[in-house]
Each structure stands twice: as structure tokens, then as C-alpha cells.
């Protein structure tokens, strides 16, 4: 990784440019109008309040799983398990949101805390296994992902939780919903008021919810933990050089477990806010949904700080949303955005390349003189 943040920023910038160029090339080869495609994508990001709202909604889980992966990175751990931790968070929130029916002021924090707590434990397992049994976190989190996957599929179909004759669970109670103005915006008064305020109406037509606030709070939490507490100092020391940290009196094993607990909590919050703000229930999974894997890309593009994942998450969310518009407008495969993400991540993997290129340019200039 490049040393200075300036170098890192330029490398990220050029990686994104490379992603856009290769994406264009792929569209061109496929015989699609490149300029028009990018115009559609650009318009579907900024041209309407509704689009912006959708992008915020889509970005929320990506920011949280991105923070999760980034947090574990700081302790030198690679959390492939965000996918499974997301599932555990979502399942817990769906269960608690359905079976508990309290006043919203009590219900929302309780459901959220339960989901975050259980997924933190789930993430912590990988940390514990790494610390005390030397089980590589990459393999343990892959195993835990699949365990979570089948666990959700099992729980969804349990009588009492399953919605009869379907492959999904019952919806959470309204008191557990994070969606803004959910009842009001469909009430007579709400409809009347929104008619007079078209911009807000357009914005609220998307399932805008409190998840984004939770994601931003989580980023602040990560920043404070990592940079303002002694725990954060030791976590970063372990990530920097575990042997030196051990020598310096830091309990490395304990810190690894703590790091994975927090990473699990963050990815679990992603699953919980997704259920409480958008999906309302969980369903039988045919394959991994990819929120956790997308989170890896978010952490890699955004860097492992606390603020990078917010920007990278919004960026990824915007790409995902505009990709779906691309499909509708030009019948161009929306998967082009995954090719772009792949290229961006690929280039962020090799900072040396940009060093080489800038050396080459400097040499040329010197030569020209």
C-alpha cells in the first residue's frame, strides 16, 4: 500500500478512471453505445431526488459491511465473513422484529442491539479460533458463511415464523420499522402535503430509512475506537506488527477476538438495517446475496480508514443503482458495473504500477528537456 494519503488518493482516482475506461471498452466490444450508456448511468445517479434516495438506501449495507471488513483489516485480519455476519444480523432482526411488539422507542433499539450482539458473537468465533487454535480466519469465515446461510434457510421455514405457503418469513412489526414517515407518507394528510412538495415527495418515494444514520454513526464509532482510544492503538499495533505488539505487552490474542467481535457487529448492523428499513423479512436464499463480498470491495477501494468506506460505499451503491437503470434503458447488461468494480479493485492491488508510470513520465520529461 502507498505510504502517503496523497499518493493513495491519486492511485484510487486513477483506478476509478481505469475502471470506467475498461467498462467502456467492454460495452464497445459488446456493440453497445458507450457514450449513451454512461449518460444513462450519470443521469440515474443525480437527475432526480428519487434516484439519490435510492442510492442512499442501496449504499447503507455496503457502507456497514465495508466498515466491517476495513475494521478487521486494521488488526491484520481478513474478514471474508461479513457475508455470514450480515445474514446472522438480518435473521436476528427478522426474528426479534416479528416476535417482539413494543413501543417503537423501545422496539427499534432492542431489535437492533439484539441483531448486533448476536452477529458480533458470530464474528467473534472466527477471532477466537484464530487467536487460540491458529485456525486461519479466511477458512473459518468461509465455513461460518455457509453455516449462517443454511441456518437462515432453516429458520425461515420454521412454523410460526414462516409466512404460510411461502418461502419467506413473516414481516417484522411496524414498530420495528426504520423507514422514515412510513405511515404518514401514505396517509391522506401525508399525500396532500407531499403533493405541494414534489421534491420531497420524489425523495420519499424510495424506502428511505434510518439505516444511513446508523451507518454514519458506525463510521464515527470506528474512528473514535481506532484513533481516540487505547484499544484502537493496540488493535492497530497488532495489525502493524503482531510480534512487536506482543513484545510491547499487548495481548494479541484478545485483541484479535475483539477486532472480529466489532467487525461482526458492523456487518450484522448492515443485515439488521436492511431488514428493518427495506426488506421487512427474510427469505430462503438460493445463493449468497453478496453484501459481504461487496463490502470487501468497498473496504479495498475506500481504504481501511473510517471515512473511506462511506465514500466508497456511496460510490458502489450509485454504480449498482445506475447499473439497473442501464438494463432498463438500453438493454445493456447491468453486470458491467461488476466488471468496473473488478478493474478498480485490481488496480488498487498494485500501487507499484502507478509508481512505475509516474517514473516513466518523469524520465520522458527529463529526456525532452
Amino acid at each position: 500500500m502507498p505510504n502517503s494519503s496523497y499518493e493513495k488518493l491519486t492511485a484510487t482516482f486513477f483506478s476509478i478512471v481505469a475502471g470506467i475506461l475498461v467498462g467502456g471498452l467492454v460495452l464497445k466490444i459488446a456493440g453497445l453505445p458507450v457514450g449513451e450508456a454512461y449518460l444513462v448511468m450519470f443521469n440515474s445517479m443525480f437527475s432526480r431526488a428519487n434516484y439519490v434516495a435510492h442510492i442512499i438506501v442501496k449504499s447503507t449495507p455496503l457502507i456497514l459491511t465495508g466498515l466491517s471488513v476495513a475494521f478487521a483489516f486494521r488488526t491484520g485480519l481478513f474478514n471474508i465473513g461479513a457475508e455470514g455476519q450480515f445474514i446472522i444480523g438480518a435473521t436476528t432482526a427478522a426474528l426479534a422484529g416479528y416476535f417482539l411488539d413494543l413501543h417503537p422507542l423501545l422496539e427499534i433499539p432492542l431489535v437492533l442491539l439484539l441483531a448486533v450482539f448476536v452477529s458480533a458473537l458470530w464474528g467473534g468465533i472466527a477471532g477466537l479460533l484464530k487467536a487460540h487454535f491458529a485456525v486461519h480466519e479466511v477458512i473459518s469465515t468461509i465455513m461460518l458463511n455457509w453455516t449462517a446461510f443454511y441456518l437462515q434457510n432453516y429458520l425461515v421455514m420454521l412454523e410460526g415464523f414462516r409466512r404460510p405457503n411461502s418461502e419467506a418469513s413473516n414481516s417484522i412489526n411496524v414498530s420495528a420499522s426504520l423507514t422514515f414517515f412510513e405511515n404518514w407518507k401514505y396517509s391522506d394528510a401525508g399525500i396532500l402535503w407531499l403533493e405541494k412538495h414534489p421534491l420531497l415527495a420524489d425523495f420519499l418515494r424510495a424506502p428511505v430509512n434510518g439505516g444511513i444514520i446508523i451507518a454514519l454513526l458506525a463510521a464515527i464509532f470506528c474512528y473514535i475506537i481506532l484513533h481516540k482510544t487505547s484499544l484502537g492503538f493496540s488493535l492497530r499495533a497488532v495489525g502493524h506488527n503482531a510480534d512487536a505488539a506482543e513484545y510491547g505487552g499487548i495481548k494479541v490474542k484478545q485483541k484479535m477476538t475483539t477486532s472480529m467481535l466489532i467487525a461482526g457487529a458492523l456487518a450484522g448492523a448492515a443485515g439488521a438495517t436492511h431488514v428493518m428499513g427495506v426488506s421487512r423479512n427474510i427469505a430462503i436464499l438460493a445463493s449468497m446475496e453478496g453484501y459481504g463480498f461487496d463490502g470487501i470491495a468497498v473496504a479495498l477501494i475506500g481504504g481501511s480508514g473510517a471515512w473511506g468506506p462511506i465514500l466508497a460505499g456511496l460510490f458502489f451503491g450509485a454504480l449498482k443503482y445506475s447499473g439497473s437503470k442501464l438494463q432498463a434503458a438500453l438493454e445493456a447488461p447491468s453486470e458491467v458495473i461488476y466488471i468496473m468494480i473488478g478493474v478498480i479493485v485490481f488496480f488498487t492491488a498494485m500501487p507499484k504500477l502507478f509508481g512505475k508510470i509516474s517514473d516513466l513520465i518523469k524520465k520522458r520529461r527529463a529526456h525532452a528537456r
Binding site: 479466511v138 477458512i139 465455513m143 461460518l144 458463511n145 466488471i339 479493485v345 492491488a349
Partner: protein, 296 residues
């Protein structure tokens, strides 16, 4: 009873073959010190190219070859980044996963009128069964394990490859070309992963679809680690995962057994975790695994 055992055994082999191919790919690459997390993407791309080629030209063997080349193509990117650009190999592998799955579905929609599934391949154009009703790819996979074992432990090249993975600097000092061996290993790894993907899409089933590979490459990766970076070990691990899938299929067909197939599906993963906990703590990973080597 015998019927049931034979059924489970043959289904195990069928589901294990794709994992064995990809896991052997991982073993080859990681023994020379290049981590390959991109197996998933290479498998997906292989599965798509294999199915698309077979359905367009009607010959599964050409399809299988094309699938290997597709995996190799992605591996070339990973090799260049990891070897010449001193890239973070894990990050590059993650990129390959996004690229492989993205490219597959993208190209599928372009080639097959917006469909994310390739047209089903008629039975006579699929990879044919060889002996005991097992697909030829199963024997190919087992042969590959045997060949890789011989190569790594019984030929003069084996120690060279492993030396590159253990201590590249020392290897280079005795005249071994580290870059060349790493390139060969990563390319071979992509080829194997591509074959693994196709052995799913043109043998086990008869088309490519986006959910076909979802996670198989990561399980193959786990098999590499579980099998302690050895071809035989990886094969046994892949067989364990295959057996669990077979067991789920078997129990699903038995009205008398009332175990949730979801709970059953969970078991191999929990079992793997448990075995890893009790296994020898000393890591068996090649010492230079994941560390880039730069010539002076």
C-alpha cells in the same frame, strides 16, 4: 442398502470433481507462493465459457478446453499483478472474482439475447460418462490429483516449485527462475479452475447460470487449506464437501428420514471447523505464500 451406498458414492464423486479441479489449481499456485483467492471468479468464467462454447459448437471437449483457457486468461492477470507488479495477492484475487463473475453474466446476456442462462445442452453433447456411469471429468479430476502428487513429490521439478514457495530468494540464488515458475503455476491454477467450472456446467448440469458457481471457488480454497496445501489432502477435503452435498440429495429422496436438509447441509462446514480446531497448530502453509518476490 448397497444401492443407497452406491448412490451416495457416485453422487459424491460427481459433486466433488469441480471442487477437486479448482482445489488442485489452488495447490499448484500456493505451493509456489502465490495465493489464489480468485478461484471463484476463474471457475465462474470457465463454467460460462465451457457451456457457451459447447452449446454453440456442439462438442463438449472443445468446450472443456475453452473453459480451461478462460480460467487461464484471468489467471494471467493475477499472475502479472502478483509477480511483476508486486501486488497484494489477496486484493488481486478478490478483483478476479468480481471480474470473472461479472464478465460471465455480461457476456451471457450479450450472446444469448439478454438471458443470464446459457441454452441447455442436449444430453448427447454433454461430457459423456466413462465407467460406472461417472462423467469423464470425474476421472480427469482424479487423474489430475495423481499427476500433481507425482509432479510435486516425485519429479525433479517438484522441489524446485516448492522451493519457490518456501524461500524464493534461496531458490533464485541456486539458479531457479522464480518468476517463470510462479507464472507457470498461476496459469496452471487458472486452467484447472476453469476446468472445474466447466465440469459443473457441461457435466453435472447442462447450462451456466449466475448461481451455479456461487461459493464453490471459496469452498475449493478452503479445501486447499484444509488439505494442508497437498494434492491428496485437498482431494480428501473436496470429497468431504462433495459427500455432504450427496448426503443432502440422498436424504431429500428418502421419505422415511426426517432431518432438515438445511441442518444437514451445515454439518460439513461445522465439521471442518471442528477438525481444524483439533488439528496440529503448526501451519503447513508454504512460508512465502502471499509474499511478493522482487528481483534486484
Amino acid at each position: 442398502m448397497l444401492d443407497s451406498i452406491l448412490f451416495i458414492l457416485s453422487t459424491t464423486l460427481m459433486y466433488s470433481a469441480p471442487l477437486i479441479f479448482a482445489a488442485i489449481g489452488g495447490v499448484l499456485s500456493e505451493n509456489t507462493g502465490v495465493v489464489n483467492i480468485g478461484l471463484e471468479g476463474m471457475m465462474a468464467f470457465g463454467a460460462f465459457v465451457g457451456a457457451a462454447t459447447t452449446s454453440l459448437c456442439g462438442n463438449p471437449w472443445i468446450g472443456l478446453g475453452a473453459a480451461g483457457m478462460a480460467g487461464l486468461l484471468l489467471a494471467l492477470l493475477h499472475a502479472w499483478a502478483s509477480i511483476h507488479m508486486a501486488a497484494n495477492q489477496v486484493v488481486s484475487g478478490i478483483a478476479i472474482n468480481f471480474l470473472g463473475t461479472g464478465l460471465s453474466v455480461f457476456a451471457c446476456r450479450i450472446l444469448f439475447e439478454g438471458s443470464t442462462m446459457t441454452p441447455p445442452i442436449p444430453l448427447e453433447n454433454k461430457i459423456p460418462p466413462l465407467f460406472f456411469g461417472q462423467y469423464a471429468t470425474v476421472y480427469l479430476a482424479l487423474g489430475l490429483v495423481f499427476f500433481t502428487h507425482i509432479f510435486l513429490y516425485k519429479t525433479i521439478w517438484g522441489p524446485r516449485w516448492r522451493a519457490v514457495g518456501e524461500h524464493p530468494k534461496a531458490a533464485e540464488s541456486v539458479g531457479i527462475n522464480v518468476y517463470q515458475i510462479r507464472y507457470l503455476a498461476v496459469l496452471a491454477s487458472g486452467f484447472c479452475a476453469g476446468l472445474g467450472g466447466a465440469s459443473l456446467s457441461i457435466a453435472v448440469v447442462s447450462s451456466f447460470r449466475p448461481t451455479l458457481i456461487a461459493g464453490q471457488g471459496f469452498i475449493a480454497l478452503a479445501a486447499v487449506i484444509f488439505g494442508r496445501w497437498r494434492p491428496m489432502g485437498a482431494m480428501w477435503a473436496a470429497l468431504l464437501f462433495g459427500a455432504s452435498q450427496a448426503l443432502v440429495v440422498f436424504v431429500g429422496g428418502q421419505a422415511a428420514i426426517e432431518i432438515s436438509s438445511q441442518i444437514l447441509s451445515m454439518l460439513p462446514y461445522l465439521l471442518t471447523l471442528l477438525i481444524l480446531v483439533f488439528m496440529n497448530k503448526k501451519s503447513a502453509a508454504p512460508k512465502a505464500n502471499g509474499i511478493s518476490y522482487q528481483r534486484n
